[in-house]
Structure formats: C-alpha cells, structure tokens
Symmetry: C2
Subunit: 297 residues, 2 copies
Amino acid sequence: MDNLIDGRAIAGEIQAETAARVIRLKAGGITPGLVFIRVGEDPASQVYVAMKQKRATEVGIRSETKVLPQNTTTAELLKLIDQFNADSTCHGILVQAPLPSPIDAPAVYSQVTATKDVDGFHPLNVGKLMLGDPSGFVPCTPAGIHELLIRYRIPVNGAEVVVLGRGNIVGKPMAAILLQKGRQANATVTVCHSGTRDVTSHCQRADILIAAMGVPEFVRAHMIKPGATVIDVGVNRVIDPTSKSGTKLVGDVAFSEVQPKAGRITPNPGGVGPMTIAMLLANTVRAAEQSVGMGRA
Amino acid sequence: MDNLIDGRAIAGEIQAETAARVIRLKAGGITPGLVFIRVGEDPASQVYVAMKQKRATEVGIRSETKVLPQNTTTAELLKLIDQFNADSTCHGILVQAPLPSPIDAPAVYSQVTATKDVDGFHPLNVGKLMLGDPSGFVPCTPAGIHELLIRYRIPVNGAEVVVLGRGNIVGKPMAAILLQKGRQANATVTVCHSGTRDVTSHCQRADILIAAMGVPEFVRAHMIKPGATVIDVGVNRVIDPTSKSGTKLVGDVAFSEVQPKAGRITPNPGGVGPMTIAMLLANTVRAAEQSVGMGRA
C-alpha cells in the first residue's frame, strides 16, 4: 500500500538544498562549523552523534565531537560550552541528550548562546517559537514533521491536529508550530498526555495525529479516523525473543494495523528520524548564514 | 443564581497577601518599585495605567508613570527602557499596550530585562513558561485565571480545557500553563481560533471554557456543556443606543443566557479583570524579592 510518507526522500531533498547553501557560504569564505558535545558512553547517544556527524560531513559542514567523561560536572560542561560560544568558527553547538542525571540539564541547554542553539532548546528560542517570531531556531523533530506535512501537501490549515505527548523536545513545540496563524499552520491543536481522560476519542477526530509519547504501539487502528495522516515519532526498545539481540525498536503506532486505515503514514524507521537530522543541518547552515548577515531574519 | 467566580474578592485576597510581602520587604529596607511607560494618549490605556498605579499604591508598591508623546521612536523608547533596566530601585517595568503602530512592539517587549518583565511578555519568560521552568514571569491575565481556578477548587487535573483565541497575551500562555504536568494543571488542552472549523463542538466538550478571542458575546448557551466552568476574558466595546455614550462593554460570553447552564462563570466586569492587576502586583513584589535573593527560584 503506497501511502507512506518517505522521510528519507524528503530528508535527502533538504540535505541537497543545505549542501547548496554550504557551497555558497564557502564561496564567501565561511565553512559552517558544528560541535557535538557528548557526556558519558550511552550507546544510543554514540550512535546518534556518529550518524549526525556523518550527515554533516556529507553536506559540507565541518564538525567535531567532544566526548566528556560520565562524571563531568555541570560547571565543567558550562565552561566548555562557553569556549564554543566564543569561537567564531563554531556556528552550532549540540549537547546530546540525555545527560547523566547529576548534571543540571536546563542550565546546560540555556548556556548555549541562542544564536548557536541549533537544537532550538534554549528558552529564548522556545519563547520566540511560541510568540510566532521567526528569528529563533525551531527544535529539529517538530520542524522536520512540519516539513513533511508541507512537502506532502497535507492540508494543515483548519485541520484538527492531535498531539500525543507534551515533551519539551517534540510535543509542546509541535503544538506551537501548528497553531500559529499562517497558511502552513492555522490548525486546531489538542495536546493529549498521560493525564488525558479519553485519549481514544481525541485520536478518533484527528485529521493529523502526531504520536510522541513514547509508549510502544499505543496508537491502534480503532483509534484513528479513516484517511487521517499519522506521524510516528516514537522510538521504543521492546523485548523480541525472535531477534538476535533479544530486543527490537518499535514506534508509538501499531504500524501494520494502522497503515491500511490511514490516509498517509510515516514508516518507522525511515519517517521522522531522518528529518530530525536534516533539520539540524539546515539550522546549522542558517546559523552560519546569520553570523555573516545572510539568510533569514 | 450564585455560581459566580468573584474575581474582585480573589484579587482582594491576593492583594492582601502581596501587601504583607511588601511589609516584609520594607522591613529589610527594600521598597518595590514599578514603572509604567505609556506612549500617546489612548484613552483606554490612560484608564488602565491609572487603575494599575492606584492598586500598586494600595499594596505599598512605589510606582511612577512615564508618558511619552505619540510620535516617540522605537530607539527613544528602547533608551528609556535601558535606563530603568539599569535602575536598581526599579523592580518591574510595564510598557502599556497597545503601542502606536510605527513602534516595533516585539523589540520593545524584548528590551525589558527578563528579571523586570513583570508582564511576562519577554520571549525568555514565554520560553520558560512553555518549558515548565518556574523561574520566569507568567503573563498576568492567564496567571490570574489559573489562580481563580485554584482558589475556587475547580478540578483542572485531567479536565478538558478549550481555549478560544491564540493571542500571545492570553490564549497561548493560558494553554501553556494548563497543559503542564502537575497537580494544578495537567489538563487536556485544545486551542481554537479563527481558523477552527467547528468551534461549537469543541466548546460543547469543554469542562473549562476560556473565551479570549475578542468577539462580542460569541459563546452562547447551546455551545457549552452543562455544568462547565466558563471564563470570560473579552472586553469588547459595542454600540448601545440605550446608553449615554452610545456604546457599552461586553465580554466574549453571552452572560445572561450562559450563566444558568454553567457550573461556574466569571462575571464581566468583576471576573478576570481585577485578577490581571493583582497578578501584576504579585509579579512586581516577586521581582523585588528576587533582586535581594528572597522568594521563589
């Protein structure tokens, strides 16, 4: 059934556009620079950072990864961030989540200067997004989902959107993007979460359902409106005795049963994931452009 | 029918609490100071600022009003704000909206240093609210509505909340407050606006309906769920041939027909309005407390 939203293909388009912008920057003597800061040896973080760095290289962004030991203090991390804040060859700074628990994560994300905050996690950028001010950076995953909706020409204006999950990285900024006035937003947005009484009835009226609560295969076929667009943000590791590792990754959507009923649906993997990286690279190039007075606001 | 939410009474309680905090501050040698900046001679703004200043005086806050001419430039206004940003006897700065149209209003609100932004309009404070970080200032009208819900013990946790209007001053921050995790929030929140296809069906499922779109008497009896809590933020001037001035003020709720069906309802005036001022004074005292290391975060 060919109702898939091909995140890999759209991410490839965006990366090609980003590579072209890098060529223009380099012609002007600027090489966009991106620094990854990773604390400890969380295996998933190692994989994510390596993947992001690989893609950065592909589009011509210079990148480096700083690995700090698990017992790094907040003060040490803030000091390293300040070094990169002051380094004019570094346009973007990404501190890979999750941080070890003794570290004050909000303090860390607020320390990255807002103009280098290519993850869009700084409160100033979050506030700008909420206020409809386009001068800030938008968190990569919801920005990527917005691009998928736009490039697949899925009607957003006036649509009923239900966001499952109110996390600071996906749920809240996703709602903020889609409820703004403007042609490619202007949706009626409901945010559901662990405190919601009747999630099913909300899901059933959604033209666009965005699942980002981190519950394996939570969204079932009976919960969706026929023809709805279903976006699966979940990455959940579950037990799978048939696999060699004994586990497998599943989304927040029971894909095989939901796909036939959905109008459009993201596969997982291959849907939202590649878009997150593509938007990170686009944000980094925009930061470099803005550092020399090019590009958007 | 005694189902009114008495905003004047609750505002009075909060003002008494605030006055007690002022006494403690003064005992420590600190007099909270609040500056109002008003540009031009908009009659409604004159009334609002005079009323806020009167209430400030009542609770012991020292206040002053700077009136600038209608043709003030953005640069002149930013310079004045910087003076008060640097003035340690000034703890809160309020630039009265609306500003004359040639002035760059977002630039002005961002110029007020975030720790003196007692209106809660600075993007940094908006971002903190969205992220669930309690160290920022919350816009006064939605903060006041939240206090009404809390002090009337209206169940918010798990409630279906529908916010009509997505303005930066009420609608968006109201949604951000009520969708946070936590005992006095944790609601399922839907934001409706001019682009919403079927507002009535959303209103009809709301346990708490907050009308802040600025359409005179938009919310009618058939639109509400029996027993719902109805909060009217609207202040709309409409033609009234029977009044001496030829106009009158009405809310966004058709009060006389909605009241009998509502569980609780704010009168208008006397509901939300007094709370906005009470929260402004509380924010100002908190700013003064924080300037000397007292008070919350």
